[in-house]
Amino acid sequence: MGLRKSRGESAAQADRRQSSRDLTSLIDDLQNEAADVRRWAARDLSNNLEARRALLDRIDVEHEPMVLEALFSAIEDMCDEEVAGEVLIKLKSEDAQVRNGAIELLQNKPVLFASHVNELLNDEDSDVRIFAVDVIGAIRHPDAALWLHDVVLNDKNINVVGTAIDKLSEIGNSETLDVLEKVSARFSNEAYIQFAIQCVRHAVAGDEI
């Protein structure tokens, strides 16, 4: 079965053809009231270093999910230390779509993420620490289990620790069970932590809960 182009997509392509594709016009298009135009502009500004500032600024005010996705995609391949610093700030956004975009970008940049992991895991905002743990769980970094062990042994927030234990059920190593013995003692009166630790033990043993 063939794929039919939607009317919206056709209209967007028509808009795209009508609009000039030089840098200034494309940056102007990021403010266009039509979401499709903004999305095409973001796509056409991908990897354009001169558009970096405009793309990052647009993320802060954009609410259309498909445009946000295009904006994060556009900055991904030019994500150096400077851009990474801005992406880390976006983890604190009030907009969950922006936070998710930042998390997904960091998941695709494990080396860059690794250079900021201590900063994120020591952030005063427990939600940022949870997002960092989520990213650690998603990337295949050789130090991932080590970072999570550090979190479960030292973080004081039960939800951060709970999230880290959840991730350890997937990426834990031979030291994880010993580490969790200590965590169990740290949170001996917390039913959820005890349950989460049991889940890891079952996962290691190959049992089903």
């Binding site: 969950a96 779509q97 939600d127 997002f131 999230t163 349950f195």
Partner: protein
């Protein structure tokens, strides 16, 4: 038989909440995010949603809004369960259509009592 949909991206949390609320009179469906929850709810009788806030693809606030816009689901009660504990979070949850707001980790008895109330159990 009542059906509860638990929506959370953490497998351990879903399993924990399932353990607390499942009973002979309640069956539980699970979804990892808002998009999956809406897909699984399509054409099914859902009696209660338990929704996390921070999830990939579609977060809990947006899921609440989508449920309230859906003709088939807009009367289904929603308990929002979040790790966030800032003052404005509960208000935001209620603005999006949640009926009740709890912070993680939940107290099992409190959650069970709230589920009973929302399901209209004796």
């Amino acid at each position: 038989m009542k059906t509860i949909m638990i929506v959370d991206d953490a497998n351990t949390v879903r399993t924990y909440h399932r353990m607390i609320v499942a009973s002979a009179q309640r069956q539980v469906e699970e979804a990892e995010n808002g998009v999956e929850a809406l897909e699984k709810a399509m054409g099914k009788q859902i009696d209660l949603f338990m929704v996390d806030v921070n999830m990939p693809k579609m977060d809990g606030y947006r899921l609440c809004q989508e449920i309230r816009r859906d003709d088939a689901l807009n009367q289904v009660p929603i308990i929002m369960i979040s790790t966030e504990s800032q003052a404005g979070d509960a208000t935001k949850a209620f603005d999006c259509g949640a009926n009740f707001y709890m912070t993680k980790p939940v107290d099992g008895t409190t959650l069970n009592d709230m589920v009973s109330l929302m399901l209209g159990e004796e």
